[in-house]
Symmetry: C2
């Protein structure tokens, strides 16, 4: 492992890395389904919703859409999903509540304990494509001890564009190499490393449910690889 | 008091409202003075440094300077102060440490308890002219339980420009009237109210030391007036 004495902040990917979005969206769908008498394959619904995520971000990254926060992109996708899955009879308040399911994602079981330990030594900031309000609501509900909520919305650029990482470091008053990006995704870490950040890979082999075949192992030589956040704390000397 | 049921977030001025910058800067100066054998009137030094604050911000607000974070403006002022106060013989590291005294400000005695109570019901965000790194360091040292560090740097406009308040509300995903600005300064609250935010006045009659004759009483009809943050929590039903 490289000398990490200069690292002062850890910047975290959130969806999949800190929280289990898939099980959480399925749970929210099932609650709604029971309340409204809907018969929906909520796992497929969750996967389809998330599947529209990168295409939506691309439309902002390539300039087809002006800056649009993730809550709004999620809602654009959701409106389409409701039609495709034949979900009818929801009020505007119910649709909005479902859209904000992304504010109510559950953390992985090790996340709160690991972050709490890591925070003793490092500044902890989000570097997520989620918008600030989404991250704040999620943190308050789950007890995630962030020092700062940063990332795409404060940089007004979506990862993996360099600005998302570089402006996050700048807002923390740090050089890129004083920040370590923590993610469960090789692509995110490759982009962060390209900007000069240190990198930590924490695989989440159940993020995409059974049969996941992506991001099971590190594809590069990261500064740290850990099996969960408690293990990461141990490996970083916290 | 107006109906405040729709208020979801409290946005805080920090210098003077949450932290006692004057005593803290005097304390930092005295420590440095003893270490380096300097004879300086540190109260006058603190007041002069803070006195250069609004003129510096004005240079950014009126476009004379491009966007410049407060740490950098503090340093520009400090370089001038060192000459004016005849302080010589400091290394670059020592000057930088002194400049970062603004990252080490002590909270008023009621601040942590009051914020902790208020956080049970409200989202708590900074809406300060201090930059993110300064606010993060201050919060970690003092134990200030912010949900989000927002304000001038994330809005790229200094208070009392409307953007500083409006972009902070927008990042919280809230309409202005769903936010309540908490400040010890009538001018800050007047600007926030002009943007549609709710307002709470918490006077800090010792902010400027003995003989303070400004901001001792509310100048308008605010949504709440409290003698400290614990009292504010009580008045807001927390």
């Amino acid at each position: 492992m490289a000398d990490l004495d200069s690292v002062q902040a850890l910047t975290f990917d959130v969806f999949g890395t800190v929280v289990d979005w898939r099980r959480s969206i399925i749970r929210e769908g099932e609650v709604l389904g029971r309340a409204k008498g809907l018969t929906v394959d909520w796992a497929k619904f969750a996967d389809t919703w998330r599947g529209l995520y990168q295409p939506m971000l691309s439309r902002v990254r390539n300039g087809e859409l002006p800056w649009t926060k993730l809550d709004t992109l999620h809602r654009m996708s959701l409106d389409r999903l409701l039609v495709d899955f034949g979900i009818a009879g929801l009020s505007e308040a119910e649709i909005d509540h479902l859209n904000r399911a992304w504010h109510r994602l559950d953390p992985w079981p090790d996340a709160v304990e690991g972050l709490t330990r890591l925070r003793r030594r490092f500044i902890l900031a989000t570097c997520s494509n989620g918008n600030v309000a989404m991250m704040v609501d999620m943190a308050r509900r789950a007890g995630l001890p962030w020092d700062a909520i940063l990332g795409a919305e404060t940089a007004r650029h979506y990862k993996p564009l360099p600005e998302a990482y570089l402006i996050t470091a700048e807002l923390l008053g740090l050089r890129p190499e004083q920040c370590m990006m923590v993610a469960a995704h090789n692509g995110d870490l490759a982009a962060a490393a390209g900007c000069g950040l240190r990198t930590a890979f924490v695989p989440r082999p159940e993020e995409h449910g059974p049969g996941q075949n992506t991001d099971l192992a590190p594809r590069r030589d990261y500064d740290a690889v850990a099996k969960d956040f408690v293990d990461l704390a141990l490996k970083l000397g916290c």
